[in-house]
C-alpha cells in the first residue's frame, strides 16, 4: 500500500514537473502569462506531492513496513525512533527523495516569493527549477525508486549503517548540507532565467546574490557540521580528511565564495558580469558533480553509497547541465561585456580579482587531486592514491595567500589607489604580526609554520580592526557620537560590509583552531587494566571500569575513565566500542571533553573479551572548539549579510554613485 502510494506520488510529481517546465518556458517565450501561471502552480503542486511522498516514506520507516524496498534495506525493528526517522537520508534512494523534497521546497518558495514578478526571466527561472526537479523525480520514480514493492518482505531489516546511528548529529549534518547544496540550484536557475531573457538587470543580480548567500550559509554550516560529525563519531581524532566527497562539498563552497566577492566588483563597477555569472553556474555544476561522485562509486570514499546504475544517469545529467550552461553563457557573453575600466592596479578591484584567482585555482587544484586517481589510471594503467599529504602540500599555500589578501583587501581603496596611504595603513598590522610572533616565542610556542600563520592572523585582525576604526572615526566627525552609539549605527548602515568582517573573523578563528590542533596536539596509546592509569599533557587518565550495556540495536562496551589534572579530579569520560549484529568491525565512539583551550579526546581501540583490559588512545588537541565557534561566526555573518540595507534618501544615494568613495580621512 505504502509502495503504491509513494510511487504514484513521485510519478505524478514527475509528470506535473515536466508539464510545468514546458509551460514556463513556452509561456515565457511567447509572453503567455497564463501558461507561466500554470507552471507556477505546477511548482507548488510538485512540492505538495513530494512532501506527501516523504511523509509516506517516513511512515513506512516508522511502521516497519518491510514490503517497501527502501525500508527493507535500511530499516530495522531494533533501531531507535530518532534514527529510524533520519534513516530517510541514510541510503541512496532515500537521499534522492530527500533531495527532491528540498528542491521542491525551494521551488515553491521562489514561486511564492516572486509571484508578483511577471518578467520573462522569472518564468524561465521557474522553468529551470522544474526541469532540475524533473530529473531528480525521474531518478526517484525510475532507476532509484525507493518505493519498489517487495513480493517477499523480510521480517526484519539490517538497519542503517552503524556509523549513521552513532550520533545525533546525523540528523543535522545532511539536512544542512542538502539545504546548501540544493540551494545552489536557485541562484543558478535565476541566473539562467535572466540570461535566457536577455541581459541580467541589477535587481536580478541582487536577487541571485541573496539566494547564493542562503545556499552559502547552509553549505558553510553543513561543512562545519560534517567536520564535527567526523571528529565526534569516526574516532580518528581528525575532522577533515580530503575525502573525495568532502572535497565535492568544498569546491562549490569555494566557488560560491568567489562569486560573492566578485559580485561586489560587479555591483560597484559594473565589470566582470560574465565571469560572475560563470562562477555561480560553476558552483551549481560542481554541486551536481558532487552528487554524482557520491552515488556512482567511481571514486572510493567513506561516504560512498552503494554502487548502482544511477551513476551513468547522473553523469548524463551533469553533461547536459554543463553543455547547456556553457552554451547560454557563450551566446550571451557579447551582450554582457563590461564597459568598466580600472584606474589603478593596486586597488580593491584588483584585490578582488586576485581573490577570485586564488579561490578558483584552489578549487581546480582540489578537483585535480580528487580525480587524479582516475586520470592516472586512464593514462598509465597505474593505480595511484591522493590523500592528505598531497592536499596539505598543494592547497595550504594558496589558502595562506587568501588569508593574506583578507588582511590587505579591506585596507585598499576602491578605484584610485594611494600607495603611500595604503602602505602606511599596513604598518600597524605588520607590527601586530611581529608582536604576536614575539609574544608566542616568549610563551614557549615553537614551530615555524604555526608561528607564521599566527602572525598572519594577527596581521589580518589588526588590518581589519584598523579599517573599522577609520570608518568609525569618519562617522564620528559628522555626528559627534560616542563610539558605543556610533558603532551599532555604523553596522546598521552598512550591514553587508560588517557581515563580511564577521565572516572573516570566523575564518580567522577557524585558521587558528586548525593550526593549533594540527601542530600542537599530543597523543598517547596504552593498554590499561582496571585501576591503571596513563598521563598525557598534564592529565592523568585512570581506567575505573568496563561495563557492558546491551541496547536494542547494539551491544555497547563502555570504558569509564577518570580524569584528573594536577591531582584534582576533573570528572570522567566514557568512550565506548559498539558491536552491531551482522557487522564485522565494531564501531568506536570517542568521548570528548570540550573546553575553550583544549579538547581531551579518548578512544577505545580494543577491549578484552573478558573485560579485563582496554587499549586506550588519548589525544589532547588545543583550540579545537575555536573551529566550531569560528564556523558559527561564518554562518552568522552570512545571515547578517541577508539583512536589508536601511533605505538611504535618494539625495544621499546619488552622491555615492558611481564610486562609493571612501569617507573623508581625518587626522588621528
Amino acid at each position: 500500500m505504502a509502495s503504491l502510494a509513494g510511487h504514484v506520488l513521485t510519478l505524478s510529481a514527475l509528470f506535473i514537473a515536466l508539464g510545468g517546465a514546458v509551460a514556463c518556458f513556452l509561456g515565457g517565450y511567447r509572453d503567455r502569462s497564463d501558461l507561466v501561471a500554470a507552471g507556477r502552480i505546477a511548482g507548488l503542486l510538485v512540492f505538495g506531492l513530494i512532501t506527501a511522498a516523504c511523509g509516506v516514506m517516513i511512515y513506512a520507516l516508522v511502521a516497519h513496513d518491510f514490503s517497501v524496498k527502501y525500508v527493507a534495506d535500511v530499516g530495522s525493528r531494533q533501531t531507535p525512533l530518532y534514527y529510524t526517522v533520519i534513516s530517510l537520508w541514510a541510503a541512496l534512494e532515500g537521499s534522492i527523495l530527500f533531495w527532491g523534497f528540498i528542491l521542491s521546497l525551494y521551488t515553491a518558495l521562489v514561486v511564492m516569493l516572486y509571484r508578483g514578478d511577471g518578467s520573462r526571466a522569472m518564468a524561465y527561472a521557474v522553468g529551470v527549477l522544474l526541469t532540475i526537479s524533473s530529473f531528480f523525480l525521474f531518478v526517484m520514480s525510475g532507476p532509484g525508486n525507493p518505493f519498489i514493492r517487495l513480493a517477499n518482505p523480510p521480517s526484519n531489516g539490517p538497519g542503517p549503517n552503524p556509523l549513521l546511528q552513532n550520533h545525533p548529529m546525523m540528523g543535522l549534518h545532511p539536512p544542512l548540507l542538502y539545504l546548501g547544496y540544493v540551494g545552489l540550484s536557485v541562484p543558478f536557475a535565476l541566473a539562467m532565467g535572466a540570461l535566457l531573457a536577455g541581459n541580467p538587470r541589477r535587481d536580478e543580480l541582487s536577487r541571485i546574490r541573496r539566494w547564493a548567500l542562503v545556499a552559502w550559509a547552509f553549505l558553510s554550516l553543513g561543512i562545519i557540521a560534517g567536520m564535527w560529525w567526523s571528529y565526534d563519531v569516526l574516532g580518528w581524532g581528525g575532522y577533515w580528511s580530503w575525502d573525495p566527497v568532502e572535497n565535492a562539498v568544498l569546491m562549490p563552497w569555494l566557488v560560491t565564495t568567489a562569486f560573492l566577492h566578485s559580485l561586489q566588483v560587479q555591483q560597484r563597477r559594473q565589470m566582470l558580469k560574465t565571469w560572475t555569472l560563470t562562477l555561480i553556474v560553476g558552483a551549481f555544476v560542481l554541486s551536481i558533480f558532487g552528487t554524482f561522485l557520491t552515488r556512482s562509486g567511481v571514486l572510493a570514499s567513506v561516504h560512498s553509497f552503494t554502487q548502482s546504475a544511477i551513476g551513468p544517469i547522473f553523469l548524463g545529467f551533469l553533461t547536459a547541465v554543463m553543455a547547456v550552461s556553457v552554451l547560454i553563457l557563450v551566446v550571451r557573453s557579447e551582450q554582457l561585456s563590461a564597459p568598466g575600466t580600472l584606474q589603478s592596479v593596486v586597488s580593491r578591484e584588483s584585490a578582488f580579482l586576485l581573490n577570485n584567482l586564488l579561490l578558483v585555482a584552489l578549487t581546480l587544484t582540489v578537483l585535480l587531486g580528487t580525480v587524479f586517481p582516475l586520470l592516472a589510471e586512464a593514462l598509465s594503467g597505474q593505480s595511484l592514491s591522493v590523500g592528505a599529504p598531497y592536499f596539505d602540500r598543494v592547497a595550504v599555500p594558496i589558502a595562506v595567500g587568501l588569508l593574506f589578501l583578507m588582511g590587505v583587501g579591506p585596507v585598499l581603496p576602491w578605484g584610485a589607489s594611494r600607495l603611500e596611504e595604503t602602505s602606511e595603513r599596513l604598518v600597524v598590522p605588520a607590527l601586530a604580526a611581529l608582536g604576536a610572533i614575539c609574544l608566542l616565542l616568549l610563551g614557549g610556542v615553537r614551530g615555524t609554520g604555526p608561528l607564521l600563520l599566527f602572525g598572519l592572523v594577527a596581521f589580518v585582525a589588526a588590518a581589519t580592526a584598523g579599517s573599522i576604526r577609520r570608518d568609525l572615526r569618519s562617522r564620528q566627525v559628522g555626528t559627534r557620537e560616542p563610539w558605543y552609539e556610533a558603532f551599532p549605527l555604523l553596522v546598521r548602515g552598512n550591514p553587508r560590509r560588517y557581515a563580511g568582517y564577521l565572516a572573516h573573523l570566523g575564518v580567522l578563528l577557524l585558521v587558528v583552531g586548525i593550526t593549533a590542533s594540527q601542530s600542537f596536539g599530543t597523543q598517547a596509546y596504552r593498554t590499561l587494566r582496571v585501576g591503571e592509569s596513563m598521563t598525557l599533557s598534564g592529565y592523568r587518565l585512570t581506567l575505573a571500569g568496563i561495563r557492558p550495556d546491551p541496547q536494542s540495536n547494539r551491544m555497547v562496551l563502555q570504558a569509564f575513565v577518570n580524569v584528573s589534572q594536577s591531582g584534582a579530579a576533573k570528572g570522567s569520560l566514557a568512550p565506548s566500542i559498539n558491536y552491531y549484529p551482522g557487522v564485522q568491525q565494531p564501531v568506536i565512539t570517542p568521548a570528548v571533553h570540550i573546553a575553550a583551550s583544549r579538547d581531551l579526546y579518548l578512544v577505545v581501540r580494543a577491549v578484552d573479551r573478558r573485560l579485563r583490559w582496554v587499549s586506550l588512545q588519548a589525544y589532547v588537541k588545543p583550540l579545537v572548539s575555536w573551529i566550531w565557534f569560528g564556523g558559527g561566526l561564518v554562518g552568522l555573518g552570512a545571515i547578517m549579510a541577508l539583512m536589508p540595507v536601511r533605505r538611504r534618501r535618494p539625495a544621499e544615494a546619488r552622491q555615492e554613485v558611481p564610486l562609493f568613495a571612501e569617507p573623508i580621512e581625518v587626522a588621528p
Binding site: V298, P312, A323, V371, L374, A378, S383
Partner: protein
Amino acid sequence: MLVAFVFLLAYGFGKPAILQTPLLGSTAPSFALRSTSGQVVRLSNLHGHPVVVNFFASWCVSCRADESNLVRVSRRFGSRVRFVGIIFEDSGRAAADFTRQRGGAWPDLVDPGGRTAVAYGVTGIPETFFINSRGVVKAHSVSLSSSALRNGIATILRSS
C-alpha cells in the same frame, strides 16, 4: 576541456576492480613462524619445493566456503607441493578449531603482529601466493576456486 572531463568520469565506470600484487616475479618474503602445534616453519627450509601460502582466518565467510577446494587440491598435489597456512588477525585457538573442522594436513602458522601479512602485501582474505621451487612468487589469487588453485599450482610446477 569539459568534454575530456566527462570522458574521464565515464571511464571510471569501466575500471577493473582487482589490483595485482607487485610481488609477482620477485622473491617471496621469507618468514619463520610457529605453527599452532608448536613447530617452527621457515620458508627458507622449504626451498627446492613449490610452496602454496594461504592467508586465512576463522571468521572469513569465503574461506569457510572454499577451504574444501584447498583440501582437495592439497591431497592431489601434496607430494609435489608444500602447503602452508598463515593466520590473519585471528586468535590461534579459533583458527585451530577451524582447521580441525576443515581437515587438511599442513601447518597453520601464527603471525604475531601481522608482520608477515604486511610483508606479503595482504589486503584481505583469503589470499594465496604460489611460490615456485626457486622461491619466486609466480602466481597469486584472491579466490579459492578450484580453477584458481589449479592454475596457480600448474604455474609453479611448470616453472620449477
